[in-house]
């Protein structure tokens, strides 16, 4: 059979061939039409994951430090009901007149806070065994002009001494192992409205017993106290990262944000400097104009190309240096810079063009074709919230600037976003 006859045979067959519609075909089509785009759920998913991250961090910290986590204001508030109750259970008792108008934050019948507006209340304390950890008792006092006020802690004894006769603001620290002579003795007069000290009981075997009109005798009954050691700096740190990623090629064409997720390892050279390496899996969703799209092998056949929509999955290997420029009690302000390498794991492009005046589109999918070593400049800054010595979480806005064209279209891909991470010191 000549090839022209063969071609004509199949051409005729194609022209006349009309398959019959099956009932289930429209059902499938209707299901596709009804299906909501998955990306609309993405912001909700990000928010849920972020909340889960926060909740996980909170629970982790709470499990490590139950008392602090349960009552974060403990260190600043002088008296809490449960503190007083625990103190009493631990062996702290008070004898004397408890003022009715005690100026304490949360007075209650169970609170054995010592206060008094009348100066007749006099008290003195001594350390006795049997206390429980982390008890605090607040004392308010009207101290005699030259009388030191003593509170006690397991590791340290806090000595309050009037820096100015007639006032009660001076506070000193009695070092562990101090000689008995270094600790003042004598009657201690408590009363008045001024809170002057907190007595935390860190050692299980120590408690404070307060008696009316008895002399202070701390030194002769204090147990041996361990030396305070400054904890060694945590060198290695592992982080879990998650956050939105907004990718732009043209400022006028905005797309839905993608998402970054990954892990990061950090090495702390010093308090200020860190070296970080992160492995992120990013989704880069963007729109580009044909003028910004410069593929090495042009995808032709689209005479009137209007716009390219891209949805790429990128493995981002980043190497950054971080500088902690301000450390406060709650956390650290930092800035970092470095370079990223992109491995284009999956690139999906939709080319929107007009054919014969009609809008149409075609798509292209590429896997593992483009790699761009050290082609992205990373700039970021943020704040790390310290939750405990080892655990923290941080917020880190970032900007990724291309040093060369990225992906199949060699576009100048600018990414910005916010990385949330939970960090754990190893």
């Amino acid at each position: 059979m000549p090839k022209d006859d063969l071609d004509q045979l199949f051409l005729d067959a194609a022209d006349w061939f009309r398959p019959v519609q099956q009932p289930e075909d429209w059902t499938k089509m209707a299901a596709l039409l009804d299906r909501r785009p998955a990306r609309k759920l993405r912001p909700v998913a990000i928010a849920l994951v972020f909340l889960a991250l926060l909740a996980g961090g909170f629970l982790l910290v709470r499990s490590m430090h139950p008392t602090q986590a349960a009552c974060p204001g403990c260190s600043s508030r002088l008296v809490q009901d449960h503190h007083a109750a625990v103190s009493r259970a631990a062996g702290v008792s008070a004898r004397g007149k408890v003022a009715e108008n005690a100026p304490l934050a949360n007075p209650s019948p169970t609170a054995k806070s010592l206060s008094g507006s009348d100066r007749s209340f006099q008290s003195r304390g001594r350390v006795v065994p049997g206390g429980s950890p982390r008890h605090q008792v607040a004392l308010t006092s009207s101290l005699g002009k030259n009388q030191p006020l003593v509170s006690a802690a397991g590791a340290n004894a806090i000595l309050a001494t009037p820096s100015n006769p007639g006032t009660r603001s001076g506070v000193g620290l009695v070092q562990p192992g101090a000689s008995p002579a270094a600790i003042p003795s004598g009657p201690m007069v408590l009363g008045g409205n001024a809170p002057i000290g907190v007595i935390p009981f860190n050692m299980p075997s120590i408690a404070l017993e307060v008696f009316g009109r008895a002399p202070v005798s701390l030194s002769d009954q204090s147990p041996p106290v361990p030396k305070i050691r400054r904890p060694a700096m945590i060198r290695w740190q592992a982080d879990l990262l998650l956050g939105p990623d907004l990718t732009l090629v043209t400022s006028s064409l905005w797309s839905n944000p993608g998402m970054d997720a990954g892990i990061r390892m950090s090495y702390h050279f010093s308090e200020k400097w860190q070296l970080e390496s992160a492995l992120l899996y990013s989704s880069k969703i963007y729109k580009a104009l044909p003028s910004e799209y410069h593929p090495i092998q042009p995808y032709t056949g689209m005479p009137d190309l209007q716009q390219i929509n891209a949805n790429c999955r990128v493995i981002d290997l980043a190497l950054d240096v971080r500088y902690n420029f301000k450390t406060t009690l709650g956390g650290t302000w930092f800035a970092e810079a470095g370079l990223s390498s992109y491995w284009m794991n999956r690139e999906a492009y939709t080319f929107n063009y007009k054919s014969g005046g009609y809008p149409t589109s075609t798509s292209l999918a590429i896997s593992n074709m483009d790699r761009h070593p050290l082609s992205i400049l990373n700039l970021s800054a943020g704040y790390e919230f310290r939750l405990s010595r080892r655990v923290s979480w941080q917020v880190q806005p970032f900007l990724k600037l291309p040093l060369s064209g990225i992906g199949y279209g060699r576009v100048h891909l600018v990414s910005t976003g916010m990385l949330f991470s939970i960090n754990y010191g190893l």
């Binding site: 059979m1 090839k3 006859d5 063969l6 071609d7 045979l9 199949f10 051409l11 067959a13 194609a14 006349w16 061939f17 009309r18 398959p19 019959v20 519609q21 075909d25 429209w26 499938k28 089509m29 596709l32 039409l33 092998q297 032709t300 056949g301 054919s355 014969g356 009609y358 809008p359 149409t360 589109s361 075609t362 798509s363 292209l364 999918a365 896997s367």
Partner: protein, 173 residues
């Protein structure tokens, strides 16, 4: 609209696909594009003045959707798959030629390997040049010509096999 153009669009999709399931997926992908972009389709007139451009537009979308699918599948399908498929065709083509309908002829096209099938459809049935085919499929025009020649050879052989069983020949249908 789906019902009206179903037969026309499905005939295109079947030619470019290995089986009906694949063709349905191409058809639905194509119709999704059509429904998405139908707002930009502006033709004034009535009857055939609208029908023919619309039909041409649908045809183009279906062909491009099928090509997209072909390109995507090329990443995952190997030569083994192609040969197995051709072997399967010989086993499944005992139909007497006289009773062979358009559907069965299209079945022969469907049974070609993906590369041959795409070139044969684009060149013979849809009228693209080898240069255009090369651009669309990401191959050279030489490969396109070679694939077309081989596709014709395969189809001739299969028609001959059927012809032996039925001396009337396909041309007498």
């Amino acid at each position: 609209m789906y019902d009206f153009f179903y037969g026309y669009a499905m005939s295109i999709c079947l030619r470019y696909s290995r089986n009906r399931e694949d063709a349905i997926e191409v058809l639905h992908d194509g119709f999704l594009k059509i429904f998405k972009n139908i707002g930009g389709f502006r033709i004034e007139g009535t009857g055939k003045q609208v029908l023919y451009p619309l039909q041409a537009w649908i045809k183009k979308i279906m062909i491009y959707t099928a090509i997209d699918r072909y390109r995507a599948q090329q990443k995952y399908s190997g030569q083994e798959d192609i040969h197995l498929h051709e072997h399967a065709l010989y086993q499944a083509a005992p139909t007497p030629l006289d009773s062979m309908a358009y559907e069965e002829l299209m079945g022969l096209v469907q049974a070609l390997s993906p590369g041959y099938r795409a070139v044969f459809n684009l060149y013979v049935i849809d009228g693209f040049t080898h240069e255009e085919i090369a651009e669309k499929l990401g191959i050279s025009s030489g490969t396109s010509k070679s694939n077309l020649a081989r596709a014709r050879e395969v189809l001739k052989k299969r028609l001959k096999k059927i012809d032996i069983r039925n001396p009337l020949g396909y041309a007498k249908r």
